[in-house]
């Protein structure tokens, strides 16, 4: 099973890279087809992870990173249908980054779900964060490489804004559903745990971003805010979990 999981991860990564290449060279239609193929492989990878973990596969960072491509394709379809934006290449690039991260982490065979994690909140909480962090990553990548793209920069900014508006409710759900879950599991909806604090900080940064929308005086802040928000996402997702000597109620996510 481990061999199958690795094979599927590599195939999915190749399909994501193919999507990026198609978006750059062959055009939108080819990118969509390649992204759909990557999504199909991501579904198979998710099933294989589930069988391997013998539980919903969100128990550690590798599982969560491997889940990224599964939600990126529906996001691309939503943005195409409802917002008229074609971002398959961008979203596939984010998926590829996540899959490279997943491949660099050890494959934990059977994951024993501890009692606190056996809750109906578990899957929606993790999935919403995966969706939001993935989309925020893409938004940040768009504005990060803006100086290299010249005339299409303003379109990128509009796309980044649409991505934030799509991702923000997922981030909000992730944050506050975590509090609702903690109220039942830990007997307190807020414990000032370091992961909670960083999640709230990240949420506040994106709140500032949304507040600057109507203020022309703050227009120049929007791009740096997206980058700062992305840094906060990285700290929340990686640094808080991976730094040694940090006491956290979320230590099972390491």
């Amino acid at each position: 099973m481990s061999c199958l999981v690795y094979t599927l991860t590599i195939l999915c990564l190749l399909a994501c890279l193919g999507t990026v290449a198609a978006a750059c060279r062959a055009g939108v239609a080819a990118a969509r087809r390649a992204h759909l193929a990557a999504w199909g492989l991501a579904v198979l990878l998710f099933v294989a992870d589930w069988v391997l973990a013998q539980a919903p596969p969100f128990g550690n960072m590798r599982y969560v990173l491997a889940f990224f491509p599964l939600v990126m394709y529906p996001a691309a379809v939503y943005l195409r249908r409802c917002r008229g934006l074609s971002v398959d290449g961008w979203l596939a690039a984010a998926s590829a980054l996540a899959l490279i991260g997943a491949l660099s982490m050890p494959l934990q065979a059977a994951w024993r779900q501890m009692p606190a994690l056996q809750s109906p909140w578990f899957a929606p909480h993790v999935i919403s964060y995966v969706v939001s962090y993935g989309l925020m990553t893409v938004a940040a990548l768009m504005v990060l490489i803006r100086p290299l793209r010249g005339e299409i920069a303003s379109q990128d900014e509009r796309t980044a804004d649409a991505l934030v508006k799509l991702a923000f409710p997922f981030m909000t759900f992730g944050l506050w559903s975590g509090a609702l879950w903690a109220d039942a599991a830990w007997g307190a909806y807020w414990s000032w745990d370091i992961k909670e604090v960083w999640a709230l900080l990240t949420w506040c940064i994106y709140l500032i971003y949304l507040h600057t929308e109507r203020l022309a005086a703050f227009a120049a802040w929007r791009r740096p805010l997206l980058i700062i928000g992305f840094v906060a996402v990285l700290v929340t997702f990686f640094v808080v979990n991976l730094l040694p000597d940090i006491q956290s109620l979320h230590s099972y996510a390491q």
Binding site: Q118, F168, P169, L180, G187, Y189, V197, L215
Partner: protein
């Protein structure tokens, strides 16, 4: 409006700085979370939220109130639907005559579905994108008020009971004050379920302590790691050691430890003696990690357990939080209103602020 927006940005920026000061991974000062600056910032943010909700709903305030009331009933319908369906599933799994109970639960769940559909439609008709934004601000203010009430008046303390039927009808706070619960609680029995895996690890001994665990592969009665092989029968128990072990001869000193299977689930079978409208009432309830017991304003959560000399001590948390309902309602409101504000597609006429 732009002044209020600028003030909001400043307040959010200040909140970010305080959170960063407390949550910096290595040298943070978590004391700031309960400091005066945070309280002042909370007050300013709450006032700004209320002002934002008021201004955003200009000319549509009655609609906003109706919309939020309809939204409340929509959520109630959804909760009814979810809870009765899950209870019905529990009965259905038990099978036999419990199927009738399951059927009754599913029928009751339909009323939740009707609530959800009717009030969801009314909410859709009444609310606009601008009102959803006002709703977010109102929900944030509600959350802040709930959090402040809890900060001032919450009582939270540990309650440790042996699983032998000993009853408790009061709790002792950290300050030493004894508070009556208003009911009595006892734990009749305590069940623990384990996963079926016993694992073995090879450790190096440093200063008498096992460190650097290496997982061992099981091959029949043998334990294998890196070309070395040991018989499982070599592992023995000893006084003071909870689990079997084997000291591997050689230098550096190493030890093989048998690790207990991981805990899958644990639950306390509790009896709550209370009263209902003056009449004594006895409730038997299972207390689980994600399933606390609520009685007379107290919330009893299962935290952990200890085993000493064959006796099980159940560690629980007793909590009375008067602002909890407001805080949780605010959270639900923020989740729903932010999703509707960001994803709302309905055509509408914007009312100028």
């Amino acid at each position: 409006m732009s002044t209020a927006l600028k003030l909001s940005i400043m307040a959010l920026g200040a909140a970010c700085v305080l959170l960063l000061a407390g949550g910096f991974p290595l040298m943070g000062a978590p004391e700031v979370y309960r400091g005066g600056a945070m309280l002042l910032l909370g007050l300013v943010s709450t006032l700004l939220c209320l002002w934002g909700a008021w201004r955003l709903a200009t000319g549509q305030r009655v609609r906003l109130v109706f919309g939020l009331v309809f939204l409340f009933f929509t959520v109630v319908g959804l909760v009814m639907l979810g809870s009765y369906v899950s209870q019905g599933m529990v009965f259905a799994r038990q099978g036999g005559p419990m199927w009738m109970g399951a059927l009754a639960m599913f029928c009751t769940a339909l009323s939740g579905l009707v609530f959800f559909a009717v009030f969801g439609y009314l909410t859709y008709r009444v609310m606009t994108r601008r009102l959803w934004l006002a709703g977010i601000h109102a929900a944030l203010a509600l959350l802040a008020i709930g959090v402040y009430v809890d900060y001032k008046y919450e009582i939270r303390t540990m309650l440790v009971l042996p699983a032998d039927g000993t009853a408790a009808d009061s709790v002792r706070t950290r300050a030493g004050e004894v508070l009556p619960l208003g009911f009595s609680l006892k734990v009749d029995s305590f069940d623990v379920a384990h996963y079926d895996n016993v694992t073995y690890t090879l450790h190096t001994m440093e200063q008498g302590r096992p460190v650097n665990p290496i997982p061992l592969q099981e091959q029949g009665d043998k334990l294998v790691a890196g070309g070395e092989c040991w018989d499982k029968k070599l592992l023995k128990t000893a006084p003071g050691m909870q689990h079997p072990f084997y000291l591997v001869p050689g230098n550096p000193p190493r030890v093989i430890l048998q690790n207990p299977p991981a805990v899958k689930d644990y639950c306390a079978n509790c009896v709550v003696n209370t009263d209902h409208r003056g009449r004594p009432e006895q409730r038997r309830q299972q207390l689980r990690v994600n399933d606390p017991i609520s009685c007379k304003g107290w919330l009893i959560s299962l935290v952990s357990y200890d085993r000493h000399h064959g006796k099980t001590l159940v560690r629980m948390q007793a909590r009375r939080a008067p602002g909890r309902i407001a805080a949780l309602s605010g959270m639900v409101g923020i989740i729903i209103c932010s999703a509707c504000w960001c994803w709302w597609k309905k055509e509408e006429t914007e009312v100028p602020a």
